[in-house]
Protein backbone atom coordinates (compact mmCIF):
# COMPACT_ATOMS: atom_id res chain seq x y z
CA UNK A 1 0.00 0.00 0.00
CA UNK A 2 1.26 3.39 -0.93
CA UNK A 3 0.75 6.36 1.34
CA UNK A 4 -2.33 8.26 0.33
CA UNK A 5 -0.56 11.59 0.24
CA UNK A 6 2.10 10.14 -2.00
CA UNK A 7 -0.24 8.63 -4.54
CA UNK A 8 -2.42 11.71 -4.37
CA UNK A 9 0.47 13.59 -5.92
CA UNK A 10 0.86 10.85 -8.45
CA UNK A 11 -2.74 11.10 -9.50
CA UNK A 12 -2.47 14.74 -10.35
CA UNK A 13 0.36 14.00 -12.75
CA UNK A 14 -1.15 10.91 -14.27
CA UNK A 15 -3.52 10.77 -17.16
CA UNK A 16 -7.08 10.05 -16.16
CA UNK A 17 -7.26 6.82 -18.16
CA UNK A 18 -4.09 5.44 -16.62
CA UNK A 19 -5.28 6.37 -13.13
CA UNK A 20 -8.58 4.62 -13.81
CA UNK A 21 -6.78 1.40 -14.72
CA UNK A 22 -4.14 1.48 -12.00
CA UNK A 23 -6.25 2.61 -9.06
CA UNK A 24 -9.80 1.69 -10.06
CA UNK A 25 -11.20 1.81 -6.55
CA UNK A 26 -9.75 5.24 -5.78
CA UNK A 27 -10.87 6.48 -9.18
CA UNK A 28 -14.45 5.54 -8.32
CA UNK A 29 -14.28 6.74 -4.74
CA UNK A 30 -13.05 10.13 -5.90
CA UNK A 31 -16.20 10.35 -8.04
CA UNK A 32 -18.42 9.22 -5.17
CA UNK A 33 -17.11 12.07 -3.02
CA UNK A 34 -18.60 14.42 -5.60
CA UNK A 35 -21.83 12.38 -5.73
CA UNK A 36 -21.35 11.54 -9.37
CA UNK A 37 -20.31 8.47 -11.33
CA UNK A 38 -17.77 8.13 -14.15
CA UNK A 39 -20.56 7.96 -16.75
CA UNK A 40 -21.99 11.25 -15.40
CA UNK A 41 -24.92 9.57 -13.65
CA UNK A 42 -26.17 10.49 -10.19
CA UNK A 43 -25.74 7.68 -7.64
CA UNK A 44 -29.40 6.68 -7.56
CA UNK A 45 -30.01 6.99 -11.29
CA UNK A 46 -30.44 3.98 -13.56
CA UNK A 47 -29.18 3.95 -17.13
CA UNK A 48 -31.39 4.64 -20.16
CA UNK A 49 -33.68 1.69 -20.72
CA UNK A 50 -35.36 0.64 -23.95
CA UNK A 51 -37.67 -2.22 -24.88
CA UNK A 52 -38.62 -3.64 -28.25
CA UNK A 53 -41.30 -6.30 -28.43
CA UNK A 54 -41.62 -9.02 -31.04
CA UNK A 55 -37.97 -9.02 -32.06
CA UNK A 56 -37.87 -12.74 -32.93
CA UNK A 57 -40.23 -13.80 -35.71
CA UNK A 58 -39.83 -17.54 -35.12
CA UNK A 59 -40.94 -17.32 -31.48
CA UNK A 60 -44.44 -17.00 -30.00
CA UNK A 61 -43.39 -14.06 -27.88
CA UNK A 62 -40.16 -12.11 -27.67
CA UNK A 63 -38.55 -8.92 -26.49
CA UNK A 64 -35.24 -7.09 -26.65
CA UNK A 65 -34.35 -5.15 -23.52
CA UNK A 66 -31.49 -2.71 -23.17
CA UNK A 67 -30.31 -1.12 -19.94
CA UNK A 68 -27.38 1.06 -20.89
CA UNK A 69 -25.16 -1.29 -22.87
CA UNK A 70 -26.51 -4.47 -21.26
CA UNK A 71 -28.65 -6.17 -23.89
CA UNK A 72 -30.98 -9.14 -23.42
CA UNK A 73 -33.01 -11.00 -26.00
CA UNK A 74 -35.82 -13.14 -24.60
CA UNK A 75 -38.02 -15.45 -26.64
CA UNK A 76 -40.82 -17.84 -25.72
CA UNK A 77 -41.68 -20.99 -27.63
CA UNK A 78 -44.85 -22.82 -26.74
CA UNK A 79 -44.88 -26.59 -26.80
CA UNK A 80 -47.40 -29.13 -25.65
CA UNK A 81 -46.93 -31.56 -22.79
CA UNK A 82 -48.99 -34.02 -20.81
CA UNK A 83 -49.60 -32.52 -17.38
CA UNK A 84 -48.60 -34.47 -14.31
CA UNK A 85 -51.18 -36.42 -12.35
CA UNK A 86 -50.87 -34.09 -9.32
CA UNK A 87 -51.69 -30.96 -11.32
CA UNK A 88 -53.80 -32.00 -14.32
CA UNK A 89 -54.95 -28.46 -15.08
CA UNK A 90 -51.64 -26.65 -14.97
CA UNK A 91 -49.06 -25.75 -17.53
CA UNK A 92 -45.39 -25.26 -16.98
CA UNK A 93 -42.72 -22.63 -17.58
CA UNK A 94 -39.08 -23.57 -18.20
CA UNK A 95 -36.67 -20.67 -17.94
CA UNK A 96 -33.10 -20.72 -19.12
CA UNK A 97 -30.55 -17.91 -19.18
CA UNK A 98 -27.65 -18.11 -21.61
CA UNK A 99 -24.42 -16.18 -21.80
CA UNK A 100 -22.99 -16.94 -25.24
CA UNK A 101 -19.32 -16.03 -25.84
CA UNK A 102 -20.33 -12.95 -27.84
CA UNK A 103 -21.54 -11.13 -24.72
CA UNK A 104 -18.34 -10.70 -22.74
CA UNK A 105 -14.57 -11.12 -23.09
CA UNK A 106 -14.56 -13.42 -20.05
CA UNK A 107 -16.85 -16.08 -21.55
CA UNK A 108 -15.22 -18.69 -23.78
CA UNK A 109 -16.99 -21.23 -25.96
CA UNK A 110 -17.41 -24.65 -24.39
CA UNK A 111 -17.01 -23.23 -20.91
CA UNK A 112 -20.27 -21.75 -19.68
CA UNK A 113 -20.06 -18.55 -17.66
CA UNK A 114 -20.22 -18.97 -13.88
CA UNK A 115 -22.93 -16.37 -13.57
CA UNK A 116 -25.30 -17.98 -16.08
CA UNK A 117 -26.78 -20.82 -13.95
CA UNK A 118 -27.09 -18.49 -10.95
CA UNK A 119 -29.02 -15.83 -12.88
CA UNK A 120 -31.07 -18.61 -14.45
CA UNK A 121 -32.09 -19.94 -11.05
CA UNK A 122 -32.85 -16.46 -9.74
CA UNK A 123 -35.05 -15.73 -12.75
CA UNK A 124 -37.01 -18.98 -12.35
CA UNK A 125 -37.53 -18.34 -8.65
CA UNK A 126 -38.60 -14.76 -9.23
CA UNK A 127 -40.97 -15.36 -12.13
CA UNK A 128 -42.59 -18.46 -10.64
CA UNK A 129 -43.01 -17.08 -7.12
CA UNK A 130 -44.09 -13.55 -8.12
CA UNK A 131 -47.57 -14.79 -9.03
CA UNK A 132 -47.33 -13.00 -12.38
CA UNK A 133 -48.64 -15.99 -14.31
CA UNK A 134 -51.38 -18.32 -13.24
CA UNK A 135 -50.17 -21.71 -14.43
CA UNK A 136 -53.79 -22.78 -14.82
CA UNK A 137 -54.04 -20.36 -17.76
CA UNK A 138 -51.62 -22.64 -19.58
CA UNK A 139 -53.95 -25.62 -19.46
CA UNK A 140 -55.44 -26.88 -22.75
CA UNK A 141 -57.36 -30.07 -22.08
CA UNK A 142 -57.58 -31.09 -18.45
CA UNK A 143 -55.37 -34.07 -17.72
CA UNK A 144 -54.49 -34.48 -21.40
CA UNK A 145 -52.57 -31.52 -22.64
CA UNK A 146 -51.21 -28.24 -21.40
CA UNK A 147 -48.65 -25.70 -22.53
CA UNK A 148 -45.00 -25.81 -21.71
CA UNK A 149 -43.61 -22.32 -22.20
CA UNK A 150 -39.90 -22.41 -22.96
CA UNK A 151 -38.43 -19.03 -22.13
CA UNK A 152 -34.85 -18.58 -23.29
CA UNK A 153 -32.99 -15.40 -22.52
CA UNK A 154 -29.75 -14.60 -24.31
CA UNK A 155 -27.35 -11.99 -23.05
CA UNK A 156 -26.03 -10.23 -26.16
CA UNK A 157 -23.92 -7.65 -24.34
CA UNK A 158 -22.97 -7.92 -20.67
CA UNK A 159 -22.37 -4.59 -18.94
CA UNK A 160 -23.61 -5.09 -15.41
CA UNK A 161 -27.05 -5.54 -13.79
CA UNK A 162 -27.63 -8.70 -15.82
CA UNK A 163 -30.52 -9.90 -13.67
CA UNK A 164 -32.45 -6.64 -13.98
CA UNK A 165 -32.20 -6.61 -17.76
CA UNK A 166 -32.98 -10.32 -18.02
CA UNK A 167 -36.09 -9.99 -15.85
CA UNK A 168 -37.28 -6.98 -17.83
CA UNK A 169 -36.87 -8.84 -21.13
CA UNK A 170 -38.62 -11.92 -19.71
CA UNK A 171 -41.60 -9.92 -18.47
CA UNK A 172 -41.82 -8.09 -21.79
CA UNK A 173 -41.65 -11.36 -23.74
CA UNK A 174 -44.58 -12.72 -21.72
CA UNK A 175 -46.61 -9.60 -22.40
CA UNK A 176 -45.83 -10.04 -26.11
CA UNK A 177 -46.78 -13.73 -26.05
CA UNK A 178 -49.38 -14.71 -28.61
CA UNK A 179 -50.55 -18.26 -27.91
CA UNK A 180 -51.19 -20.18 -31.14
CA UNK A 181 -54.73 -21.46 -31.77
CA UNK A 182 -54.69 -25.23 -31.55
CA UNK A 183 -57.07 -28.16 -31.88
CA UNK A 184 -56.96 -31.82 -30.95
CA UNK A 185 -56.51 -34.09 -33.95
CA UNK A 186 -57.68 -37.68 -34.28
CA UNK A 187 -54.50 -39.11 -32.76
CA UNK A 188 -55.03 -37.09 -29.61
CA UNK A 189 -52.16 -34.77 -30.47
CA UNK A 190 -52.48 -31.04 -30.33
CA UNK A 191 -51.91 -29.27 -33.65
CA UNK A 192 -51.91 -25.66 -34.73
CA UNK A 193 -54.98 -24.49 -36.59
CA UNK A 194 -53.40 -22.58 -39.45
CA UNK A 195 -54.84 -19.31 -40.63
CA UNK A 196 -55.38 -20.53 -44.19
CA UNK A 197 -57.91 -23.28 -43.68
CA UNK A 198 -59.65 -21.41 -40.92
CA UNK A 199 -62.20 -19.83 -43.22
CA UNK A 200 -63.10 -22.93 -45.21
CA UNK A 201 -63.31 -26.44 -43.89
CA UNK A 202 -62.71 -26.35 -40.20
CA UNK A 203 -63.15 -29.88 -38.99
CA UNK A 204 -61.75 -29.50 -35.51
CA UNK A 205 -62.93 -27.05 -32.97
CA UNK A 206 -60.06 -24.99 -31.54
CA UNK A 207 -59.62 -25.67 -27.85
CA UNK A 208 -58.27 -22.30 -26.87
CA UNK A 209 -59.99 -19.66 -28.94
CA UNK A 210 -60.33 -17.16 -26.09
CA UNK A 211 -56.97 -17.74 -24.51
CA UNK A 212 -54.59 -16.09 -26.95
CA UNK A 213 -53.00 -13.82 -24.38
CA UNK A 214 -51.75 -14.57 -20.91
CA UNK A 215 -53.15 -12.44 -18.16
CA UNK A 216 -50.23 -10.94 -16.27
CA UNK A 217 -50.97 -9.82 -12.75
CA UNK A 218 -48.60 -8.16 -10.30
CA UNK A 219 -45.63 -8.01 -12.67
CA UNK A 220 -42.22 -8.07 -10.93
CA UNK A 221 -39.49 -5.52 -11.64
CA UNK A 222 -36.07 -5.32 -10.08
CA UNK A 223 -33.21 -2.99 -9.30
CA UNK A 224 -29.66 -3.96 -8.41
CA UNK A 225 -27.65 -1.59 -6.24
CA UNK A 226 -24.05 -1.54 -5.08
CA UNK A 227 -23.38 -0.90 -1.42
CA UNK A 228 -20.07 0.80 -0.92
CA UNK A 229 -19.36 2.34 2.46
CA UNK A 230 -22.28 4.74 2.92
CA UNK A 231 -22.98 5.07 -0.77
CA UNK A 232 -25.69 3.29 -2.71
CA UNK A 233 -25.17 3.10 -6.46
CA UNK A 234 -28.19 2.05 -8.51
CA UNK A 235 -27.90 -0.03 -11.69
CA UNK A 236 -24.13 -0.66 -11.76
CA UNK A 237 -22.06 -1.18 -14.89
CA UNK A 238 -19.78 -4.20 -15.28
CA UNK A 239 -16.78 -2.07 -14.30
CA UNK A 240 -18.45 -0.88 -11.10
CA UNK A 241 -19.54 -4.44 -10.25
CA UNK A 242 -15.99 -5.71 -10.61
CA UNK A 243 -14.53 -3.05 -8.33
CA UNK A 244 -17.20 -2.69 -5.65
CA UNK A 245 -18.48 -6.15 -4.94
CA UNK A 246 -21.38 -5.77 -2.52
CA UNK A 247 -24.58 -6.12 -4.53
CA UNK A 248 -28.20 -5.95 -3.38
CA UNK A 249 -31.01 -6.88 -5.74
CA UNK A 250 -34.55 -5.96 -4.73
CA UNK A 251 -37.51 -7.33 -6.69
CA UNK A 252 -40.93 -5.78 -6.08
CA UNK A 253 -44.12 -6.55 -7.93
CA UNK A 254 -46.75 -4.06 -9.01
CA UNK A 255 -48.85 -4.78 -5.93
CA UNK A 256 -45.93 -3.57 -3.82
CA UNK A 257 -44.99 -6.97 -2.44
CA UNK A 258 -41.43 -8.06 -1.99
CA UNK A 259 -40.58 -10.89 -4.38
CA UNK A 260 -36.91 -11.16 -3.54
CA UNK A 261 -34.25 -9.41 -1.55
CA UNK A 262 -30.99 -10.86 -2.69
CA UNK A 263 -27.69 -9.91 -1.12
CA UNK A 264 -25.09 -12.60 -1.69
CA UNK A 265 -22.31 -11.67 0.71
CA UNK A 266 -19.90 -8.93 -0.26
CA UNK A 267 -17.50 -6.75 1.65
CA UNK A 268 -20.05 -4.43 3.24
CA UNK A 269 -22.88 -5.20 5.62
CA UNK A 270 -26.40 -4.00 4.92
CA UNK A 271 -28.09 -2.27 7.82
CA UNK A 272 -31.79 -1.55 8.04
CA UNK A 273 -31.42 1.99 6.71
CA UNK A 274 -29.49 0.80 3.64
CA UNK A 275 -32.10 -1.88 2.93
CA UNK A 276 -34.83 0.75 3.21
CA UNK A 277 -32.96 3.07 0.85
CA UNK A 278 -32.55 0.26 -1.70
CA UNK A 279 -36.27 -0.48 -1.47
CA UNK A 280 -37.14 3.18 -1.99
CA UNK A 281 -34.93 3.31 -5.08
CA UNK A 282 -36.55 0.12 -6.36
CA UNK A 283 -40.06 1.51 -5.85
CA UNK A 284 -39.12 4.46 -8.02
CA UNK A 285 -37.54 2.23 -10.62
CA UNK A 286 -40.61 -0.04 -10.74
CA UNK A 287 -42.67 3.00 -11.76
CA UNK A 288 -40.17 3.88 -14.51
CA UNK A 289 -40.06 0.31 -15.83
CA UNK A 290 -43.85 -0.03 -15.76
CA UNK A 291 -44.08 3.08 -17.93
CA UNK A 292 -41.45 1.78 -20.34
CA UNK A 293 -43.27 -1.56 -20.63
CA UNK A 294 -46.65 0.11 -21.19
CA UNK A 295 -45.18 2.33 -23.88
CA UNK A 296 -43.58 -0.64 -25.62
CA UNK A 297 -46.91 -2.51 -25.61
CA UNK A 298 -48.65 0.60 -26.94
CA UNK A 299 -46.10 0.98 -29.77
CA UNK A 300 -46.58 -2.67 -30.65
CA UNK A 301 -50.35 -2.35 -30.88
CA UNK A 302 -50.10 0.76 -33.06
CA UNK A 303 -48.06 -1.05 -35.72
Amino acid sequence: MMGSANSGDLSSEMEVDAFRRLFPLRFHERHLLESIRPDARMLGKARDTTLALGAVASADGSALAKIGCTTMLAAIKMEVMTPTAESPDMGCIAIDFHMPPICSPTVRPGRPAEAAPVVSKQLSDTILSSGMINLKDLSLVRGKASWMAYLDIYCLDADGALFDAALLSAVAAFSNLQIPIVALNDDGRVVVVSEENEGGKLKKEPVNKEKRKLKLSSIPFSLTCILHKNYILADPTAEEESIMETLVTVVLNLSGQLVSLYKPGGQFLAYTSAIQDCMALTRQRVKELKKILDEAICDMEMD
Binding site: T106, E114, P117, V118, S124, E245, L261, P264, G266, A270
Partner: protein, 248 residues
Protein backbone atom coordinates in the same frame (compact mmCIF):
# COMPACT_ATOMS: atom_id res chain seq x y z
CA UNK B 1 -53.96 -19.16 24.86
CA UNK B 2 -52.39 -17.75 21.74
CA UNK B 3 -49.01 -19.14 22.66
CA UNK B 4 -50.44 -22.59 23.01
CA UNK B 5 -52.02 -22.48 19.59
CA UNK B 6 -48.73 -21.48 18.02
CA UNK B 7 -46.95 -24.34 19.65
CA UNK B 8 -49.24 -26.94 18.19
CA UNK B 9 -48.51 -25.65 14.69
CA UNK B 10 -45.11 -27.28 14.43
CA UNK B 11 -45.06 -30.99 13.82
CA UNK B 12 -42.07 -31.57 16.08
CA UNK B 13 -43.65 -29.63 18.94
CA UNK B 14 -41.20 -26.75 18.88
CA UNK B 15 -42.16 -23.17 19.71
CA UNK B 16 -41.88 -20.74 16.77
CA UNK B 17 -38.61 -19.32 18.05
CA UNK B 18 -37.05 -22.61 19.05
CA UNK B 19 -34.13 -23.83 16.98
CA UNK B 20 -33.53 -27.51 16.38
CA UNK B 21 -30.82 -29.27 18.30
CA UNK B 22 -27.43 -27.92 17.24
CA UNK B 23 -24.30 -30.02 17.04
CA UNK B 24 -20.84 -29.07 15.86
CA UNK B 25 -17.64 -31.05 15.83
CA UNK B 26 -14.33 -30.02 14.36
CA UNK B 27 -11.21 -31.68 13.05
CA UNK B 28 -13.06 -34.75 11.86
CA UNK B 29 -11.12 -35.33 8.64
CA UNK B 30 -7.43 -36.24 8.73
CA UNK B 31 -6.24 -35.05 5.37
CA UNK B 32 -8.02 -31.71 5.18
CA UNK B 33 -6.36 -28.63 6.66
CA UNK B 34 -9.52 -27.94 8.54
CA UNK B 35 -12.90 -29.60 8.79
CA UNK B 36 -16.16 -29.45 10.67
CA UNK B 37 -19.55 -31.05 10.71
CA UNK B 38 -22.60 -29.04 11.62
CA UNK B 39 -26.09 -30.32 12.18
CA UNK B 40 -29.39 -28.64 12.90
CA UNK B 41 -31.85 -31.38 13.70
CA UNK B 42 -31.83 -33.82 10.81
CA UNK B 43 -29.96 -31.46 8.48
CA UNK B 44 -26.27 -32.26 8.50
CA UNK B 45 -23.39 -30.86 6.46
CA UNK B 46 -19.66 -31.64 6.39
CA UNK B 47 -17.19 -28.93 5.42
CA UNK B 48 -13.52 -29.38 4.59
CA UNK B 49 -10.97 -26.64 3.99
CA UNK B 50 -7.82 -27.05 1.92
CA UNK B 51 -5.35 -24.23 1.66
CA UNK B 52 -4.12 -21.63 1.32
CA UNK B 53 -2.56 -23.12 -1.81
CA UNK B 54 -0.30 -21.17 -4.15
CA UNK B 55 -1.79 -19.20 -7.02
CA UNK B 56 -5.31 -17.99 -7.80
CA UNK B 57 -7.79 -19.21 -10.30
CA UNK B 58 -7.99 -17.60 -13.73
CA UNK B 59 -9.43 -14.10 -13.86
CA UNK B 60 -9.14 -13.64 -10.09
CA UNK B 61 -7.37 -10.73 -8.51
CA UNK B 62 -3.85 -11.88 -7.52
CA UNK B 63 -3.61 -9.13 -4.90
CA UNK B 64 -6.17 -10.94 -2.79
CA UNK B 65 -6.71 -14.47 -1.60
CA UNK B 66 -9.10 -16.46 -3.75
CA UNK B 67 -11.86 -18.55 -2.21
CA UNK B 68 -13.26 -21.52 -4.04
CA UNK B 69 -16.38 -23.39 -2.95
CA UNK B 70 -17.24 -26.85 -4.20
CA UNK B 71 -20.69 -28.16 -3.36
CA UNK B 72 -21.23 -31.91 -3.24
CA UNK B 73 -24.90 -32.88 -3.11
CA UNK B 74 -26.01 -35.94 -1.21
CA UNK B 75 -26.73 -37.78 -4.42
CA UNK B 76 -26.56 -37.02 -8.11
CA UNK B 77 -25.16 -34.24 -10.19
CA UNK B 78 -24.71 -30.61 -9.31
CA UNK B 79 -27.45 -28.45 -10.81
CA UNK B 80 -28.40 -24.79 -11.02
CA UNK B 81 -29.51 -24.67 -7.40
CA UNK B 82 -26.17 -25.99 -6.15
CA UNK B 83 -24.33 -23.54 -8.43
CA UNK B 84 -26.26 -20.75 -6.76
CA UNK B 85 -25.40 -22.13 -3.32
CA UNK B 86 -21.72 -22.17 -4.31
CA UNK B 87 -21.87 -18.54 -5.40
CA UNK B 88 -23.73 -17.35 -2.28
CA UNK B 89 -21.37 -19.31 -0.02
CA UNK B 90 -18.29 -18.00 -1.80
CA UNK B 91 -19.37 -14.38 -1.50
CA UNK B 92 -20.41 -14.85 2.10
CA UNK B 93 -17.04 -16.36 3.04
CA UNK B 94 -15.24 -13.59 1.14
CA UNK B 95 -16.91 -11.19 3.53
CA UNK B 96 -15.57 -13.06 6.57
CA UNK B 97 -12.01 -13.75 5.47
CA UNK B 98 -9.11 -11.34 5.61
CA UNK B 99 -8.28 -11.69 1.94
CA UNK B 100 -5.21 -9.47 1.98
CA UNK B 101 -3.23 -11.61 4.47
CA UNK B 102 -2.39 -14.32 1.94
CA UNK B 103 -2.48 -12.69 -1.48
CA UNK B 104 -2.24 -14.86 -4.59
CA UNK B 105 -3.41 -18.00 -2.81
CA UNK B 106 -6.49 -20.15 -3.14
CA UNK B 107 -8.45 -21.66 -0.28
CA UNK B 108 -10.88 -24.41 -1.25
CA UNK B 109 -13.93 -25.19 0.83
CA UNK B 110 -15.69 -28.45 0.04
CA UNK B 111 -19.24 -28.81 1.29
CA UNK B 112 -20.64 -32.31 1.52
CA UNK B 113 -24.36 -32.56 2.22
CA UNK B 114 -24.99 -35.51 4.53
CA UNK B 115 -28.70 -34.99 4.98
CA UNK B 116 -31.10 -32.25 3.92
CA UNK B 117 -34.07 -31.57 6.16
CA UNK B 118 -34.56 -27.86 5.54
CA UNK B 119 -32.39 -24.77 6.07
CA UNK B 120 -29.62 -26.42 4.07
CA UNK B 121 -27.75 -23.32 2.97
CA UNK B 122 -27.62 -21.74 6.46
CA UNK B 123 -26.38 -25.05 7.84
CA UNK B 124 -23.65 -25.18 5.18
CA UNK B 125 -22.58 -21.61 5.95
CA UNK B 126 -22.31 -22.42 9.65
CA UNK B 127 -20.30 -25.57 8.87
CA UNK B 128 -17.96 -23.68 6.52
CA UNK B 129 -17.41 -21.03 9.18
CA UNK B 130 -16.42 -23.63 11.78
CA UNK B 131 -14.15 -25.39 9.28
CA UNK B 132 -12.38 -22.13 8.41
CA UNK B 133 -11.66 -21.58 12.09
CA UNK B 134 -10.41 -25.15 12.35
CA UNK B 135 -8.04 -24.58 9.41
CA UNK B 136 -6.72 -21.36 10.97
CA UNK B 137 -7.67 -19.16 8.02
CA UNK B 138 -7.44 -15.50 9.11
CA UNK B 139 -10.98 -14.17 9.61
CA UNK B 140 -12.39 -10.71 10.28
CA UNK B 141 -15.27 -12.15 12.26
CA UNK B 142 -17.38 -15.28 12.41
CA UNK B 143 -20.80 -15.49 10.86
CA UNK B 144 -24.03 -17.19 11.79
CA UNK B 145 -26.72 -18.18 9.35
CA UNK B 146 -30.39 -18.68 10.10
CA UNK B 147 -33.52 -19.54 8.15
CA UNK B 148 -36.78 -17.72 8.96
CA UNK B 149 -40.01 -19.12 7.59
CA UNK B 150 -43.09 -17.01 7.05
CA UNK B 151 -46.57 -18.48 7.49
CA UNK B 152 -49.68 -17.32 5.66
CA UNK B 153 -50.82 -15.49 8.79
CA UNK B 154 -47.62 -13.43 8.83
CA UNK B 155 -46.08 -15.33 11.75
CA UNK B 156 -42.42 -16.22 11.66
CA UNK B 157 -41.00 -19.58 12.66
CA UNK B 158 -37.27 -20.15 12.94
CA UNK B 159 -35.08 -22.91 11.58
CA UNK B 160 -37.78 -24.81 9.67
CA UNK B 161 -37.50 -28.41 8.57
CA UNK B 162 -38.10 -29.49 5.00
CA UNK B 163 -41.86 -29.94 5.22
CA UNK B 164 -42.28 -26.56 6.89
CA UNK B 165 -40.11 -24.93 4.23
CA UNK B 166 -42.22 -26.39 1.44
CA UNK B 167 -45.58 -25.83 3.08
CA UNK B 168 -45.22 -22.22 4.16
CA UNK B 169 -45.49 -19.32 1.78
CA UNK B 170 -42.02 -17.83 2.03
CA UNK B 171 -38.68 -18.16 3.71
CA UNK B 172 -35.56 -16.05 4.14
CA UNK B 173 -31.97 -17.16 4.61
CA UNK B 174 -30.07 -14.57 6.62
CA UNK B 175 -26.40 -14.39 7.58
CA UNK B 176 -25.17 -12.00 10.28
CA UNK B 177 -21.74 -11.39 11.74
CA UNK B 178 -21.09 -13.10 15.06
CA UNK B 179 -21.63 -10.80 18.04
CA UNK B 180 -18.31 -9.43 19.13
CA UNK B 181 -17.00 -9.62 22.69
CA UNK B 182 -14.62 -6.72 22.92
CA UNK B 183 -12.94 -4.55 25.47
CA UNK B 184 -14.30 -1.49 23.75
CA UNK B 185 -16.98 0.43 25.65
CA UNK B 186 -20.62 -0.36 24.95
CA UNK B 187 -21.78 1.26 21.73
CA UNK B 188 -18.32 1.71 20.20
CA UNK B 189 -19.19 -0.79 17.50
CA UNK B 190 -22.39 0.89 16.46
CA UNK B 191 -22.99 1.56 12.81
CA UNK B 192 -25.56 4.24 12.14
CA UNK B 193 -27.40 3.55 15.41
CA UNK B 194 -27.39 -0.21 14.96
CA UNK B 195 -25.09 -2.71 16.63
CA UNK B 196 -22.45 -4.17 14.35
CA UNK B 197 -23.87 -7.68 14.43
CA UNK B 198 -27.19 -6.48 13.00
CA UNK B 199 -25.65 -5.87 9.58
CA UNK B 200 -26.74 -8.35 6.92
CA UNK B 201 -23.95 -10.26 5.20
CA UNK B 202 -26.28 -12.33 3.09
CA UNK B 203 -29.98 -12.34 2.42
CA UNK B 204 -31.72 -14.81 0.10
CA UNK B 205 -35.52 -14.89 -0.07
CA UNK B 206 -37.99 -17.29 -1.62
CA UNK B 207 -41.66 -16.56 -2.10
CA UNK B 208 -43.84 -13.48 -1.88
CA UNK B 209 -43.99 -11.39 1.26
CA UNK B 210 -44.76 -7.82 2.22
CA UNK B 211 -41.93 -5.45 3.00
CA UNK B 212 -43.00 -5.31 6.64
CA UNK B 213 -42.91 -9.08 6.87
CA UNK B 214 -39.34 -9.04 5.63
CA UNK B 215 -38.31 -6.62 8.35
CA UNK B 216 -40.16 -8.76 10.87
CA UNK B 217 -38.11 -11.79 9.72
CA UNK B 218 -35.00 -9.66 10.00
CA UNK B 219 -35.79 -8.76 13.59
CA UNK B 220 -36.46 -12.38 14.58
CA UNK B 221 -33.42 -13.58 12.72
CA UNK B 222 -31.22 -11.09 14.56
CA UNK B 223 -32.57 -12.23 17.90
CA UNK B 224 -31.91 -15.87 17.05
CA UNK B 225 -28.44 -15.13 15.71
CA UNK B 226 -27.34 -14.12 19.22
CA UNK B 227 -28.16 -17.63 20.45
CA UNK B 228 -26.38 -19.19 17.50
CA UNK B 229 -23.39 -16.93 18.11
CA UNK B 230 -23.13 -18.19 21.67
CA UNK B 231 -23.31 -21.80 20.59
CA UNK B 232 -20.67 -21.28 17.90
CA UNK B 233 -18.33 -19.55 20.29
CA UNK B 234 -18.80 -22.22 22.94
CA UNK B 235 -18.20 -25.10 20.56
CA UNK B 236 -15.11 -23.45 19.10
CA UNK B 237 -13.65 -22.75 22.54
CA UNK B 238 -14.29 -26.25 23.83
CA UNK B 239 -11.74 -27.86 21.60
CA UNK B 240 -8.96 -25.33 22.03
CA UNK B 241 -7.32 -26.85 25.13
CA UNK B 242 -7.28 -30.39 23.69
CA UNK B 243 -5.69 -29.10 20.51
CA UNK B 244 -2.89 -27.23 22.27
CA UNK B 245 -2.12 -30.25 24.42
CA UNK B 246 -1.93 -32.36 21.25
CA UNK B 247 0.67 -30.10 19.63
CA UNK B 248 2.55 -29.48 22.86
Amino acid sequence: MLVQRMEIDRADGRTPNQLRKLACSRNILNRAHGSASWSQGETKVLAAVYGPKAGTKKNENPEKACIEVIWKPKTGQIGKEEKEYEMVLKRTLQNMCLLTVHPNTTTSIIIQVVNDDGALLPCAINAACAALVDAGIPLKHLAVAICCCLAESGRVILDPNKTEEQRLKAFVYLVFPNSIQSVLPEGALQVGGEPYEHGIITSVTHGLMSVDEYFFCLERGRAASAKLSDFLRRSLQLQVPSESSKTG
